[in-house]
Subunit: 430 residues, 2 copies
Amino acid sequence: MKTFIKPKILQGTRDFLPEDMAKREYAMNKIKSAFINFGYDSIQTPAIEYAETILGKYGDEASKLVYRFKDNGGRDIALRYDQTVPFARLVATNFKNLPMPFKRYQIDRVWRGDRPAKGRYREFYQCDVDIIGTTNLLAEAEIAGVIAKVFTTIGFENFTIKFNSRRLINNILDSLKIPAEKQSAVIRILDKLEKVDRKGVIEELKPLINESSAKELLDIVSITGTTEEKLKLLDKYETKEIREFFSLARLFNIADKNLLFDPSLARGLDYYTGIIFEVFFPEVAIGAVCAGGRYDDLCSLFCPEQFSGVGVAFGFDRIIVAMEELGLFKDLTLNSQVLVTYFDDSTLATSVKLLSEIQQAGINAEIYFEPAKITKQMKYADKKQIPFVVICGPEEVSRNEVTIKMMKTGKQKTIPQNQITNYFKGYSEI
Amino acid sequence: MKTFIKPKILQGTRDFLPEDMAKREYAMNKIKSAFINFGYDSIQTPAIEYAETILGKYGDEASKLVYRFKDNGGRDIALRYDQTVPFARLVATNFKNLPMPFKRYQIDRVWRGDRPAKGRYREFYQCDVDIIGTTNLLAEAEIAGVIAKVFTTIGFENFTIKFNSRRLINNILDSLKIPAEKQSAVIRILDKLEKVDRKGVIEELKPLINESSAKELLDIVSITGTTEEKLKLLDKYETKEIREFFSLARLFNIADKNLLFDPSLARGLDYYTGIIFEVFFPEVAIGAVCAGGRYDDLCSLFCPEQFSGVGVAFGFDRIIVAMEELGLFKDLTLNSQVLVTYFDDSTLATSVKLLSEIQQAGINAEIYFEPAKITKQMKYADKKQIPFVVICGPEEVSRNEVTIKMMKTGKQKTIPQNQITNYFKGYSEI
């Protein structure tokens, strides 16, 4: 008896069928169009690189998640873990030939050997956008503008771009007499406030700082009010940078409700140095859908030249989940708009001729591949969500006519063959 | 002294900078649009799969080229080697829910640990298009139509779609009394005729068949003339399938010069069973840029259900090389069409306002990030190939005007600010 290989895939990886791909490509094209509208160009780096490059930046915890192996030549290789490190490596190699400031986007896969869970995959997409080579706060403001453009272009109305500054947090920690060498660790714990709650954060801070300082810190960063009110309360910690960013960001068509100064926003990663961002959908409990900020030295691993920059990464899979929940894929169809039937061999030449005319008018169309029963061909059209079926039987052919069936309503119309492209051009949904 | 990681990439892999990506995305979008115009939908499979799946089909020679490793859980994993095997695995899992016939395209990376050489990479793209679930020759004809559509859409005028049938070759080999069990090996050698020449092929055939049979075989498959003349000469080996394919293919708007019956075309892979294709650019010595054919049983590794199909893969990197050589990227620009200058802080608000208006009119535009000297900002526009610079200094702002510089000609024009979007909409190149 013949044995078969079980057709299974690795946990944490996914197949995408046409319906999935239609949604993913729709969302991806919207994201791209927002990046491009702001004049960003794309770059691409290899999926496989020297392990030394990929691992360079990460601590032990993250490097456990890197897929790493030896190739046939004994080279130590790893799969891309994020897009920041390869970007830094590319800039270190090419900065002399790049326009500066350099604006790029990068949409590609990354791999992490993480324990798979709901919404956590081993192979997934990141959408990164960065500006390097300028320290001007206009860059931070533009990134906020790009975030707003991405989400409004996709169709989200309610999104909250939370912002804060690492400098402000450091100033607050200084005022609480928390020594510089402890501040990174404190910030990493503060970053959990959204998930762990106040009590939990205080508990975690205890080994680092005394309880009263911890409470005072949380009181300071948890103040409420309008942006102006919060800034006034925090003025003694220096808010010039945040004030300047805020007034620049408001030039970029961001609705007031979409931009929120949150002094408790911390971000976990050490390498941020200025304004930081996290974006949430208030209606969808899915965590941050975009995050990033200002960093001082992108390429420090690879070269002595310093490149300051600001950038964010969009979590593509979370955005897809939120779009599903909010019904933002409602009217999406697959590619094919017209099915031309195959009646019999005597009418086939006419069917293909009509097919070609429809296609050449820029309408996506296909022909059924066998002279099957018309009900079978209709079933196929239904399954592929094709809105129009062009019926071209011997009777129609003898009269130089063609019958068009609208699948949604079931209505049919017979028209002269030479009016077929005009007929479809009249439908706005095509 | 600080040491740096050398910013190098693996041989056979590549970084793509904005200029490269503009070309690659342009070509890829053209290829996609041709697939979509024929009603193909896309699918995506993971880059990493169980090694058992990826290796299933290949002989020892190819499996040496597969990137294979153990993950942290000890699973035996491989990087995708081609798109056919993962497609077969996906169909075996999902065929009950797929429309049949099923038409899909798939454009993605594959990895091969091959010795890198000019035009041979370890990480590269394949563009696959297949129809499964029908044995009707209309499917082969449509694939020929898709090939023609892809290349004409990209802008190629001279391309040759060579076709033949495996059945015809088998019949010729039968008539020469070459036993069935030797025919695959003979076909694999015949496939080298383009590269090795007649003498070399006869030499390689000697261990398998006697020299006079080898010469007779080459005489038969090397006949010249029109398609009709060749078919007449070969009628005794049964040419019904080829005749039928040829007449169907001609319905699909393929220029006669683009379609060539070549009885010597063999294709190396065992799994083809009917019509086979290879496509060449006569003006560019780069080998086949597209190849494929009819196969009988896509999923035989994974399930007992049989799926016959026909499909081809386009060699994306070779197509890019040919487009370069033939100047098909001539008028391609990067994304940004307009640079708005940043004069000083008093004019910045107006600059950003104009930027937003231009962007919202659907024109890709950006602002310079620093109040640098105007010559520096112009240099930046030059480097990014930005055709228009919008100058918005204190004098312009005081008069509600703006000055537009066309970078190609150096000409400047001052217009009222509220006419800015109309101005750009008038340029067809935007």
